[in-house]
Amino acid sequence: MPKIKMPRSSPSLDMTPMVDLAFLLVTFFMLTASFRQVEPVVIEAPSSIAEDLLPENVVQVTIDKDGRAFFGMSGFEVRKNTLRQIAEEFSLKLDEDHYQKFAGMNMFGVDTRQLPQYLMLSESERENLGTKGIPYDSTNNQLKTWIDLGRREAAKEYQRLKEEAKERNRPFKDDGLRYAIKADGKAPYDKVKAVIQIFKDLNIYRFNMITNVEEEPKI
């Protein structure tokens, strides 16, 4: 029996196209990735079969398992303008540095009067600072003020963008402001109810509850 001769070829192969592709993908993911910011609390949201994505333009209230409330909203400029209104409302003395810091923060949960000091802390100092969340009881309902002023500023920005798009004859992506609630599964429901009541008082009845994904069972 003659032996089958294997063709002699080098075991090393040309990896250039592979590297090209890999780096292309790396570049793509790097550019599209938006890094998650440090959140002041860890929230373990309950899971649901919902598959809708969180809209771009939101006011978000986060409730942790002890019932503390945190406020956040999207948009760099909107956050700045909201803080301006808040500073007026609570007569806070803020400078440009405060505004910059606040605009870069996606969520916070301190008493509004402590906000100026809080903004000047470093990230690790903030983490160590045990916060009580934004007060939202009936005697001191700061959360309501935040939501109300926040949505006004968001509405102004929305209008501005719409007009700008019209002027330049560009298409305008028409997604209005949505209200998201992210609560820990263990948060007492009466706390969540209190937050929802605040929204209801502001004539907001539709919410996006942020949940983890779970597979839809066959029925």
Partner: protein
């Protein structure tokens, strides 16, 4: 300098040209590939799990709204979530002295009950789904048809209540089950009726 000397030392002939050693232009790319794929994996993993998913939830405009639903209910269930992951339900209106029963959040509890009571809607939506696949129905049309089926008069209506001891997860679990079993009409009601409170106490002391 050492290299030059070494080249000269090896020659024998007169017409010896100084040749540069032929170096392969190939570079070993394995480490490069390793690194690239490591980065790729990292970015893929962080990118896809970033965007949160949301569940739509509507609340009634005011208390009267919830009462409206109550008065017209033909096929209704009231679920009452309580502490320690306990869930109770009764069918029909309160005026008919319904019996409160405990039920579990698991698939053989709540889901089974809802599927039984909402069987008509579930089968119609299933049929619609098959039809949609055959005729390549548009997504929006499909959704509209589903809503139409869900709001027909005999479809199941669910009231979700709680006794202030429930946690957020309980409510989300219930709404999720309702979505799974295609119940379109449900309301989250804040207040418990005094009669319901009484029934709840009774069942807790004497299960």
């Amino acid at each position: 300098m050492a290299e030059l000397n070494a080249g000269g030392g090896a020659g024998h002939g007169k017409h010896e040209k100084k040749r540069a050693k032929k170096l392969s232009t190939r570079v070993d790319m394995t480490p490069l590939v390793d690194l690239a794929f490591l980065l790729l994996t990292f970015f893929v993993l962080t990118a896809t799990f970033n965007k949160p998913k949301v569940m739509d939830l509507n609340f009634p405009y005011d208390k009267e709204d919830a009462n409206d639903v109550k008065s017209e209910v033909r096929n209704g269930i009231t679920l009452i979530a309580s502490g320690n992951d306990k869930l109770y339900y009764y069918s029909g209106g309160l005026d008919k002295d319904p019996k409160l029963t405990e039920i579990s959040y698991k698939a053989d509890g709540l889901r089974k009950l809802l599927l039984e009571r909402n069987a008509e809607v579930v089968s119609q939506i299933k049929a619609l789904g098959e039809k949609a696949q055959k005729t390549k129905m548009a997504d929006t049309t499909f959704k509209r048809e589903v809503v139409k089926i869900q709001s027909f008069p005999d479809a199941l209506v669910v009231l979700i209540k709680n006794d202030d001891k429930a946690v957020y997860k309980n409510i989300i679990d219930i709404v999720d089950e309702l979505n799974i079993t295609k119940v379109g009409r449900f309301v989250v009601v804040d207040e418990l009726d005094p009669k319901e409170k009484l029934m709840l106490e009774q069942i807790k002391t004497n299960p």
